[in-house]
Structures are given as C-alpha cells and as structure tokens.
C-alpha cells in the first residue's frame, strides 16, 4: 500500500523533484513542480499526523532493513506536528514566491533556485523524520548546504558575505554534531536513536558520553541560533532573497530546536541531562539573555529585515526558555511557541517580501506611508507584530500564557515577570513599524503587492489569529509532544 510508505515519501518526493527541476530548465515549470511537491508533502505530513494521533508512533524501515542496522524513519507525537509546520509553510511560500522570485532572482537561475529550495525542504523534512543519528547529520548537511546557496542568491552584495559567514558557522556546528554522533557510536555501537536511548544507560557519566553531549549541544545550538551563537542569523536573514528568508525563518531554526529536544530528551534523557548536569540552568540563562539582548538590539536596527531577524533570536529564546523549565507546561509553551513563532515570522517576512517587491530593500524609511499605499501589507504587518508582542487573540499570547504559567508552577515569579517585561520590548520595535506605516507621508507611488503574494501572506496572518483564539489543535499537539518527551525517561 502506498500509505504504508508515507514516511519515506515525505522525504523522497522533494528530494527527487530537485534534480527534476534541473532537467526541466524552465523557471515556470520548476515552480509548478515545486508547488505540486509542496502540496503533496503537506498532504503526507497531515496524513502522518492523523495516523500518529490515531495509532501512536509509526516506525518505517527503509528498504525493510530492520533497525538498528537499517535506517529507521520514526514519526511520533514530537516530530509529526513539526512536519506539518514545515510543509505548511512550504505550501504557502511557493505560491507567494512566484512574483517575488521573478523580481529578485535572474530568470536564468529560477530553475536552480527551485532545485535548491526543494533540496532544502527535503533536508529539513529528513532531519525531522529520521530515526537515525547519522542520517540526521546527512540531512542536516543537505539542508544547510542548500541554505547557503539560497542565502547567497540575494540581490544585495552583502548576501554572499552573509552566506559565507553562515557557511563557516554552520559547518562548525555540523562538525560538532558529527563528532558527537561519532562519540555516541563509539560507546554504544549503534546509530539508531531509539536504540541509543536504551544503550546509553550503560555508559552514563563516562567522559566520552559527556563530550558527546557537549559537542551535540553546542553544534545544535549554533544551528538554532541560541544566543550567543546567533551571529550568523541577522545577516543571513537580512540579505537572503525574501522567499528564502520567509521559509528559513519559519522552519530552519525550528527543526534545529527539534534536534535539541530529540537529543536532550529522547537520547540522553532529561533526568540525566537537566537534573544531573547544569544544562537546564545554562539554557535558562542564555534564553533570558536572548530575550532581552536580542530584543534590545532589534529596537535599534534601521534595516527592517535585520530588525525582525534579531527579533527571531529573541523569540527563539522563548522557545528554549520553555524547554529549560523542564516541565510539561514549560515544554508545551516552548513547543507551541515554536509553531506560533513560525506562523508569525513567516507572515512577517512574506509581507516584507511584498514591501521589497515594490520598494527594494525594506528599510524603516521605505515603510513610510505604507498604510495608505499598501494597506493589506501594512495591516498584516501590524497583526503579525501584535502576535510577537503577545496580544490576546493572537498566537503569541498563547505561548506567553504557557511560559508564564510554567514559571509560576516552578515558583519562579521573577521569571514570569521577565517573560512579560521582555514582551514589552517587542512593543517598541513593532510600533516603530506601525508609526512608519501610518504616520509618515508616503515615500513613493507604490501599489499594493500582487494578490499572489498578499493572499499567501495573509493566510499566515489569519492563522496567527485563528490559532490564537482556538488552540485545540496547536496546544493539543504541543502538550502531547511535551508529555512524550517528559515521559521518555522516567
């Protein structure tokens, strides 16, 4: 049955479509293929999520080679929602991208752009779905290498420099990850994640085990842009093509967060990593630093994409903060924020793509009078911005609610206050955008962006509101994942 092979198809479809794009050689055909693939992967991801919710974890053996020798794909409560997030963002980004790519990337390179983008998608989905530690590394490299290319395609000359910077940092991260995986293999003789989780009990507190944990944590933290390892992110997001920024901001760091959860909780076991070792405290301190430092830096940016890139670093801080609190509520908050922030930031960078299409590189000056010239874009920016602040009725509120609740559960009322105070920093940078859009005289005669861009962006904006009012799906999935992770080793 085809449905039995859904886990493999989830990765294989975009992976195979990428070389096909190169063969097609026509930009519009490559786009059409990417569009079809994004819809197909979304359908597969939703089917997988429903299957997991109905029958529990799915284990798929590639080529029927039994785990732990063969490669296993494993879909459970933790990664099934992530697959849906990544593919949903992909499905929204592709229709949006048609006009945006046409404006920002030379026509001759379109098919290459789509080939690279599909590779990136395949890589991200592979990282999320695979149950094999070395396979994680392979897919991570597929995703990363294609990401470097996507960023380097940016119109701005600085895009190359940003891509190079990310290449160096990303490679260090990847190397650390492969060293960590190697050390694990050295000690346990297995690469299967589920198997690792069992066997690692025999080698607890051995020095190589600690080294493996350290290498993996630092490597993954580089990838997820945990403060202070975030330095690659602002430039990469600022100078990449709008489509790439929108897609990566909503998905790439989220997949890296998933890896942190997978290794920290499933493989090493949360009681070991967080209770015996000071990981929780370290993560807590770095998360708080991210929330405040990155938000403050964001306030002073004049390039609007850079501003929201710094905002991303801060928002990632909320996600890791939820993880560091080590409770079902905290993890629920972190995971739901992973989803929520993906929606909000995806929407914002897509809308900035609309701005870029009409005005060139979006600086705060270029937003002047946007409320009159591009009313839909401006209104979308405001709503998604409110979500970053955490205003009730938007998704950001739901995340804040759980994070504050988790802090109070722990008795850390000071942390609850810090979470809320840092949200107020978001008010300042979001309101810079609002005032520029609505209080300044328009800087030029710009029209609203084409509907093919505005509608996909607004789909995400609407999702920001919908999932802020009805959280049955998101919070349900997040708390399932949180329970699965907390119950993994107990």
């Amino acid at each position: 049955m085809l449905t039995d092979h859904l886990p493999a198809l989830q990765v294989v479809v975009p992976l195979m479509a990428a070389p096909l794009c190169v063969l097609l050689r026509r930009g519009w055909a490559a786009w059409l293929l990417a569009f079809a693939v994004s819809l197909a992967t979304l359908a597969i991801a939703i089917a997988l999520l429903l299957q997991v919710q109905a029958t529990g974890t799915i284990s798929y053996l590639l080529g029927s080679w039994a785990a732990p020798w063969g490669i296993e794909y494993r879909v459970d409560a933790v990664n099934a929602p992530l697959l849906v997030l990544v593919t949903a963002i992909a499905a929204v980004v592709v229709p949006f991208a048609r006009a945006s790519v046409a404006a920002e990337i030379p026509a001759a390179q379109h098919y290459l752009f789509w080939a690279t983008w599909l590779l990136c998608l395949a890589g991200l989905l592979g990282v999320a779905i695979t149950g094999d530690a070395f396979n994680v590394f392979v897919f991570l490299e597929i995703a990363s290498l294609s990401t470097y290319v996507l960023i380097g395609l940016g119109r701005d000359r600085r895009a190359l420099m940003a891509a190079y910077q990310y290449l160096i940092m990303g490679t260090i991260g990847a190397t650390f990850i492969v060293i960590g995986v190697g050390l694990l293999y050295l000690m346990t003789g297995t690469l299967n994640i589920a198997d690792l989780a069992v066997r690692i009990g025999d080698v607890r507190q051995v020095r190589p085990e600690l080294a493996a944990l350290a290498f993996l944590t630092v490597g993954i933290s580089l990838k997820l842009a945990l403060f202070p390892l975030h330095l690659w992110l602002p430039n990469a997001y600022a100078y990449a093509p709008s489509v790439a920024t929108a897609f990566l901001a909503a998905t790439a760091t989220k997949v890296a967060v998933y890896l942190l959860l997978r290794f920290g909780f499933t493989v090493f076991g949360q009681s070991h990593v967080f209770a015996n070792l000071p990981m929780g405290k370290m993560l807590l301190v770095l998360s708080i630093a991210a929330m405040f430092v990155a938000s403050t830096v964001a306030i002073f940016q004049s390039d609007i994409k850079r501003m929201f890139a710094y905002s991303s670093v801060a928002q990632i801080g909320y996600i890791t903060l939820g993880i560091s609190m080590l409770s079902v509520t905290g993890l629920t908050g972190g995971i739901v924020h992973l989803f929520n922030h993906g929606l909000a930031k995806g929407a914002i960078f897509m809308l900035l793509g609309c701005v870029a299409l009409r005005t060139g590189q979006p600086s705060i000056e270029r937003l002047a009078g946007l409320g009159r010239r591009m009313p839909l874009t401006a209104a979308g920016l405001v709503i998604a911005g409110l979500s970053l602040i955490g205003v009730p009725g938007t998704v950001g509120f739901v995340s804040k609610w759980y994070l504050v609740l988790a802090a109070l559960e722990r008795g850390w009322w000071w942390l609850a206050m810090l979470v809320l105070l840092s949200s107020l920093l978001a008010v300042i940078y979001v309101w810079r955008v609002v005032e520029a859009c609505y209080f300044r005289e328009p800087a030029g005669e710009w029209k609203e962006a084409p509907l093919s861009m505005v509608i996909p962006a607004w789909l995400l904006v609407a999702a920001c509101v919908y999932f802020g009012l009805d959280t049955t799906v998101t919070v349900g999935a997040a708390s399932d994942a949180a329970r699965a992770l907390m119950g993994a080793v107990q």
Binding site: K400, L408, V427
Partner: protein
Amino acid sequence: MTLASDPAVALAVPALGAVLIALAGRWPNLRETITLITAALLFAVVVALLPQVLAGERPAALLLTMLPGLALELRVEPLGMLFALVAAGLWIVNSIYSVGYMRANEEEHQTRFYVCFAVALASTMGIAFAGNLLTLFLFYEALTLSTYPLVTHHGTPEAKRAGRLYLGILIGTSIGLLLLGIVWTWWLAGTLEFKPGGILAGVADERVIGGLLALYMFGIGKAALMPLHRWLPAAMVAPTPVSALLHAVAVVKAGVFSVVKVIVYVFGVETIAGMKSVEWLPVVAGVTIVIASIIALRSDNLKRRLAYSTVSQLSYVVLAAALLTPLSVLGAALHIAAHAVSKITLFFAAGAIYTAAHKTEVSQLDGIGRRMPFTMTAFTIGALSLIGIPPLAGFVSKWYILAGAAASGQLAAVAVLVASTLLNAGYFLPIVYAAFFKPPREGDAGHGEAPMPMLLAMGVTALLTMFLFAFADQPLALASRLAAGE
C-alpha cells in the same frame, strides 16, 4: 435560547456595523445612517437583556475554547448590565454629536473614525459581558488597540506622542502586570470565572492577596490610578467625540468596571475585608482623587481640566470599591453611570465651544454664556452633578459612597470625599461664573451656538443627568444586586 437574549448579539451588532460602515465609506450620509442604526440596534439588544438580569437570570454565551479548560464566554451580571446600558445608550447620543462635530470641523479620515468607534463599542460590550477574566482581558486589549487610531486621529507629531504614551501605559501595564495577575490567579484557583464571593478564598494567603491586588489595580491602567494616569490627559488630543464617549465613558469606565468586577467577583469583598495587605488601595485612590483635583484646578486648557477631573472621579469608584462595604460597592456601581452622563455632557459642551468659538482655554470663556446659553446651561448641569448637588445624578452615587465610608467608620475616606467636593466646586464653578457673569472680551463676536446635532446630544445627556436622580430605581436595582453579592 432566543437570539434576543444572547449576549453575543451585543458584540455582533457593532462588529457587523463596523464592516458596513467601512463598506459605505464613500457615501457619508449612508455611513452615518448606518452608525446611528447600529447604535440604536445595539441599545435595543442590551435593553432586551435587562428584564432577565433583573429577574436574576444570567444570560450566557460560549464563544470559543481558547485554552484547555478556559473558554471565551459571556455572562451578563448586574454590574456588566449597567455598564453596557450606559455605554450603548450614550453611543447613540454620541453618534449624533459626532456627525455634527466631525462635519463642522471638516475632519479627515471620517470612515476610519466611525469604524474604529464601532469596533471600540464591540470591545466594550465584550468587557461588560465577559464571563471570565480571560475574556475580559482579550476585549480589554482589543479596546486599547481599537481606540489607538482614534487617539492619534490627527496624525500630528503631538498625536503620535500621545499615542505612544497611551499605548505604552495601557499595553505596558496590562501585559506587564494584569496578565501576570491573571495567570497567577489561574494557577492558584484553577478557574478564572467571576463568582459571587470571589475565587481566591482559601487558596491564597494574605501576602499573596496583597500582591495580586497590586497587580490588578495597577495592571488595569484604564482605571488611571496614579501614577499610571498620564495616558488619559494625553488622549485628549483626539477629536472631542472620542474624548466624550471613550475617555469619559467607555474606556475609562471599562477600567473602573474591571476594578469593581475583580474586587467583587475575583477577590470577594468578604474574603479580603479586614486584610492588612489590601489597606493601601483606599489610600492610593484617595491620594489620586485629591492630587488629580488639584491638577485640574491649575489647568487652563478646558479638556485637560476635564481629563484630570475624570482621573479624580475614576478614583471615586476605586475608593468606593476598596472600602469593601455593601453600600460603597453600590455607590461605586452607581457612580459609573452618574459620572458617565455628567462627564459626557461636559465634554460635549467643550467640543461645542471649540466648534462654535474655536476656544480651548478656560481663561477665554468670559461671557460665553451669552452667546452659547444652551451649551453653558448643559455644562453647568454636568458640573453641578459632579460636585454632587441634588437633584442630579452625581448626588446619588456620592451619597452612597459617603454612607458606606461613614458606616464603616473610615473617616479618612469621608474627609477625602468632602475635600474633593470642595475642589470640584473650585475648578468647575469659576467656569460657570465666568461664562455667565463676566463681560465678554473684546473681539469675541461672530459666533453663536454649535450645530444642531451637537446641541441635541448635549441636551439629551443633560436631561439624563437629571433623570438618573429622579428615576434611579433601575440602576439602583442592578447595583444593589451587585452589592448583595449575587
């Protein structure tokens, strides 16, 4: 449940009205007609709920399940009923006034103005009928955001600055303090429902109650307790109809309404009565009353004077609730209505003076009563009501608050009320005197009364101010149900 008894309709009507107003933007007459019809319809819907509430029913509606175990729901109780009646009723009058004001002053962006107004009213209904704290919080923030474009309506640098202050204080306090208080309450009590007798009894000790009370009282920035009152005078840069309905009625009353609601239904009057950790609240309210009155006395700008008078009068409600006696709680509820009708009359008069004579300062008003006798008569009625002179609305509420203070032996509160009455007289009566008895200044000729719709609106609210004294039984019935702890 029939449609008419569903409180959700009270939200849907102005929300739908906002959409229609936006669609009718190109035809001003149609647009204003829709505003007036929406306002009238809303009032009818709200009035239709009244008999049930008086009969002891609590019409309810479930909107959405927002968080597990926490729904967005509406539930109409007496205080909310009173607040909704006041806001919806005055919206009709204010809309008539707005038509006159906005056209006479040739304001721009009128469609945006009416749309935001309708959304603000929908949010106000949401606050009034909120069935739990989460719902209240959602609509509280919606009200802040929907009134922001009204405050910054003129788009000038001054308006932008005022907007920053408005949003900074209101969003800052609500997210920084109020939300923390709400999550904390949820964690302690496991519910956010408004229950007679409160939900915190037995789950929090005295110190925690004191801390929570501070989070709520300062978190509800719309109640304008000092030192978080500065957004209110700043908001006066808005067109006068906004100041009149929103910053004398809907927004600020949403603040003190939330304060009373939280004290009565979340803390529970009996739960916190006698606790040492809550004794600071009447002091802060008392200080706000006196200091704001003194600032009002020293302000020459008429709208600023009225704004500080509002700050002071809002703290009447907070003080009355904080006295924690049934009589004073009753007074608090009545004062929400009494201050609303009186202050909106004063703002209508201020707007009429600005429209007809282009005057904004108190010192320019010498002899203006001769040219604008109708306006200044209305102004006088509003002023006397706020001073607390019978036969006007302000007397009734002040009476109950004073009686509550005296009955519980809190003489300091009595002293504050008396002092503030004198201060009220001090900043209102000179205006009345100057308007009617001082000779007009040179070159003050050439204007008469304001346009008809404005006079009509002012007349209605001035009459209401008298009616609320003479026919106080309906509001009293609602307020006494609240005070009886139902």
